[in-house]
Amino acid sequence: MKLTTYSTDQAGLQAFYEAIIRAHDTYGPVEKFGKFDFKKVNSLSECDPESPIPRTMSVKPLFFPKSAKVMKYTATSAGTELSDTAEDPLAGKRVILGVKHCDARGLQVLDAVYKWDYIDTDYEKRRENTILISPRCDQAATHCFCTSLDYDLETLDAVDVAVINGADRKIYLQARTEKGETFLKENATGLTSANGSAEAEMKKQYETFAASFRLKMNYQEINERMQGQFDSPTFEEVPSSCVSCNTCAFVCPTCHCFKISDEKIRDKGVRYKSYDSCNNVYFTLMAGGHNPRPVKYRRWRQRAMHKFVYYKERFGVNLCIGCGKCTTSCPVNISIFEVVTKVASSMQE
């Protein structure tokens, strides 16, 4: 496949970004409380597309917001009226700058569940209308292990436009999807075409990047071994320092569990769909008091197994993408990498 590629320099890239921000509904990583998070931006100075990993949140909230209105209703003695919520603020055409590859891969993984059986039209629409522009990582962060999970930068269609640092401060912009290609062509003002010429440089950039990873695992082996590890005692040991804070699930680019809650004031109500976490004790608590996962290690087991076994079993892709956000955010730095490798290796003993 031929990939449309342009080359430019730093200034050109800035101009490219600025043009996008002027012309489109644009989101980008904005610094909040010392960390970067995706927000709507009106000028390039507000955001930093190149901001380093790890960031707090992924782009997930822009597709699956922390709390979304499902419907509104009014209930009076005259009857109950349902009304759809006002226009979805995330459904319009938009561009997201500074998306890291792992974030984008996370969305790809999510597509599997959202497009399975019942199709979440809101999500689908948001996906369709969004262009992801992704500066490639040059250096792995402490807890990154995406290369091990086959979600490396060579995966093609996760992002729409990839931004790659080449040699001599050259920057390549490469369309990775059809959507991206159309977009890039439309916005190519000021860029130089570099079709086909930069492959080697990009490959080299990737290799240096891949070499910077400290964490590596053999995914195939781990996946196979984990399958038989449901009853592994290691699950009881490893996460004992977990404080069940749910942070991991909330920041995870692929965690998609949610809950539905109503808010009713006077006779008007709104139904929301909000993030939830399988680490939450109430997650599986049933009316009447039965709870299949009352203790922490069982919930942790569900999380680890879901990330590394179940999802793959069901949808053919691994749910964990190795971005390391959960580990970074975890107040006690429990590493899912450590947990699964330990569980997988415990079988041998």
Partner: protein
């Protein structure tokens, strides 16, 4: 199934003139849960109530909202209407559209109407969350415990017993009588204290409904109103009261002499003793701290002289238990120790005595046979200086409050001194004369006129020895100059002060006490006899300084409270009390801390279903809880809720407008 009926009252013109009642009714009908709404001229009238009753049956209502006057006015009326229709009365909510709307917004009918609608909407929302509640009945043990056998305890015991309610009267000393037995004559009538007290003491001893436990102390009190269990220690008296005749042979022969507490240590008593001749019961006890037989095993004279063989040196303290329903605490008062008044030479000069010592001396049955004498040389004093407010009203050295009785008894002492020593002269240093009471002011006047006592307004700054006599230097504020009075005897009107062990007693009973140690009443104005703990009442100086009439009045009041409490077989209580959801309770016990009634206790329940491990949770004692909701607001896990004012009900109200 929420089926709310709304009944809007015109209240004649009271509501209808300023609130558009039909519009309010229409508005109420729009609420989803309201299945029936109607207006009527007077909802509280018989036909109005009949409308409610009919609608409840006809429309299968699950709760009722009456929009009318204040719930403080007719809530009971409408509750009754509900129960007459077979509905739980607590499913009623009243929307106050008269006091809170029509009467206070008379100039703006539109706004008043809107507000009335909102108030109804709130009441409807609340009523949906109303639960069926049932009046709580607590069984009652009809027996009262009176702690303290002074005049307060005696009066309370007699009043309660006269209502044919059994009373247990506990007195720590060998005889009842208390402070009043120590007095000579009482103001303002100068009748003899003993003469009016002893008949009452005898009544106590012979009353079929009074169980007198002298020489005893309450050790423990468990339970709650109507259902207390008291453990009472009967101190070993070493005398078998059943056989003893009180002949007195033992104490006449006893060789050990001990300062006599009853006479403020002016004379001596024996180690086996009865505190005073008219004691009730008039049986001696052996003072184990001084009896040589008990201390060293030598002597045994009393046993030898006792014809009845009533002396038993092997007797032990005994704990008796009594089930009781109410407690009257009447432990009386102590005297404040005046030793901080160093400038007076308290402790250094023998001829400075307290007024109670003076009282004993002038008493006909006192150690000096009714004539005051100087402790130093036994001479009869001619010039006596009385100093009032020793300790009282003195923030610097003593206490802030006024001891209330000193003005009166000092006047009395002046008269008594005049009666006993005709050529004597009394000098009285005072700050103010507080003589509010029937015949009191007249009495003070009488003292001044009859005795010619010199009342000097001012503080005493120093007392020093001059020869055999004492020089009292003070300020005469009226003349604005320093005066010095030579005195044979100085009498200090020391402040009334609670017993040192009052706080212990308060803790034992679970009631509160103030910074001095006086036991606290539930409300200083409206509930002066009750304590914060239901079923425990106060009488006499244990609560605050009082004179005899006040003490007796309060004792009778406490008795009336006890009788009222025991009027039925069970206590009926409003069901609006706190309940604990043990599933949510963390056992932090903050609710126990803030509950003003000690109504919350803890219990242990299994950690999980069938678990052997236990955890602590709070438990509300239905009999004690008064339903204030303090515990609910501080409960972080929302484990406690207040029936009738649940979180759900209040939040429903908040979000409904």
């Amino acid at each position: 199934m929420a089926r709310v009926g709304v009944f809007v009252c015109f209240c004649g013109a009271n509501i209808a003139d300023f609130v558009d009642v039909p519009a309010v009714t229409e508005e109420a009908k729009k609420i989803k849960e309201v299945k029936y709404a109607i207006e009527y001229k007077y909802m509280c009238s018989d036909p109005g109530q009949q409308m409610i009753r009919d609608a409840i049956v006809q429309h299968r209502l699950t709760s009722v909202v009456v929009a009318a006057c204040s719930p403080r006015m007719h809530e009971k009326t409408f509750r009754k209407a509900l129960s007459d229709a077979g509905m739980n009365p607590y499913l009623l909510e009243v929307a106050n559209i008269r006091e809170h709307s029509s009467w206070v917004h008379q100039k703006d009918k539109k706004a008043a109407t809107e507000k009335a609608s909102d108030l109804i909407r709130m009441a409807v929302a609340k009523s949906i969350a109303n639960e069926q509640l049932h009046e709580i009945s607590v069984p009652v043990t009809k027996r009262a415990l009176v702690i303290g056998g002074g005049i307060a305890g005696i009066q309370a015991a007699l009043d309660i017993a006269d209502a044919r309610i059994p009373v247990v009267l506990v007195e720590k000393s060998p005889s009842i009588g208390g402070r009043m037995a120590q007095l000579d004559e009482t103001f303002p009538t100068l009748d003899c204290s003993q003469c009016i007290l002893t008949p009452k003491m005898v009544d106590v001893a012979s009353h079929p409904f009074i169980e007198l436990l002298p020489y005893s102390e309450v050790m423990e009190l468990d339970g709650y109103v109507g259902n207390y269990k008291a453990k009472i220690k009967r101190k070993a008296s070493y005398v078998n009261f059943d056989t003893c005749t009180g002949c007195g042979a033992c104490w006449q022969k006893c060789p050990v002499k001990v300062p006599n507490e009853f006479n403020m240590g002016i004379d001596k008593r024996k180690a086996i003793y009865s505190p005073f001749p008219q004691a009730v019961p008039n049986k001696p006890v052996i003072d184990a701290e001084h009896c040589t037989m008990l201390l060293k095993g030598k002597c045994g004279i009393c046993a030898k002289v006792c014809e009845k063989g009533s002396i038993d040196y092997t007797m032990q303290d005994e704990i008796v238990e009594r089930e009781i329903g109410a407690v009257v605490v009447a432990t009386g008062y102590d005297l404040w120790d005046p030793s901080p008044y160093e400038e007076y030479g308290v402790g250094r000069y023998k001829d400075i005595i307290t007024s109670l010592e003076f009282e004993r001396m002038v008493s006909a049955n006192g150690p000096t046979g009714g004539v005051p004498v100087r402790p130093s040389d036994g001479k009869v004093p001619k010039r006596v200086v009385f100093i009032k407010c020793v300790g009282s009203r003195d923030e610097a050295k003593g206490i802030e409050y006024c001891s209330k009785i000193c003005c009166m008894y000092t006047a009395k002492h002046a008269i008594l001194l005049h009666h006993k020593v005709h050529d004597s002269h009394a000098y009285i240093f005072y700050m103010d004369i507080r003589a509010a009471g029937k015949g009191y002011e007249e009495f003070v006047k009488r003292a001044q006129v009859e005795t010619g006592a010199t009342y000097l307004r001012g503080r005493v700054s120093k007392i020093y020895k001059k020869g055999e006599n004492l020089m009292v230097r003070g300020e005469d504020a009226q003349l604005g100059q320093v005066v010095e009075v030579e005195a044979d005897l100085v009498v200090l009107a020391t402040a009334i002060y609670p017993y040192k062990d009052n706080p212990d007693l308060a803790r034992l009973l679970g009631i509160s006490y103030d910074k001095y140690g006086y036991l606290s009443e539930a409300h200083p104005k409206l509930r002066p006899v009750e304590t914060a703990k239901a079923g425990i009442y106060l009488a006499g100086c244990t609560q605050a300084p009082k004179d005899i009439p006040d003490t007796v009045a309060q004792a009778s009041a406490a008795a009336a409270k006890v009788c009222g409490l025991f009027a039925g077989d069970t206590l009926k209580k409003d069901p609006m009390i706190s309940t604990v959801n043990t599933e949510f309770c963390t056992g932090c016990q903050n609710c126990v801390t803030v509950c003003p009634y000690q109504a919350i206790v803890t219990e242990e329940i299994p950690l999980g279903h069938g678990s052997k491990e236990m955890r602590i949770v709070a438990k509300v004692n239905e009999g004690v809880c008064q339903g204030c909701g303090s515990c609910v607001a501080i409960c972080r896990s929302m484990a406690i809720d207040l029936a009738g004012f649940t979180d759900m009900q209040i939040i429903n109200e908040i979000v409904s407008i």
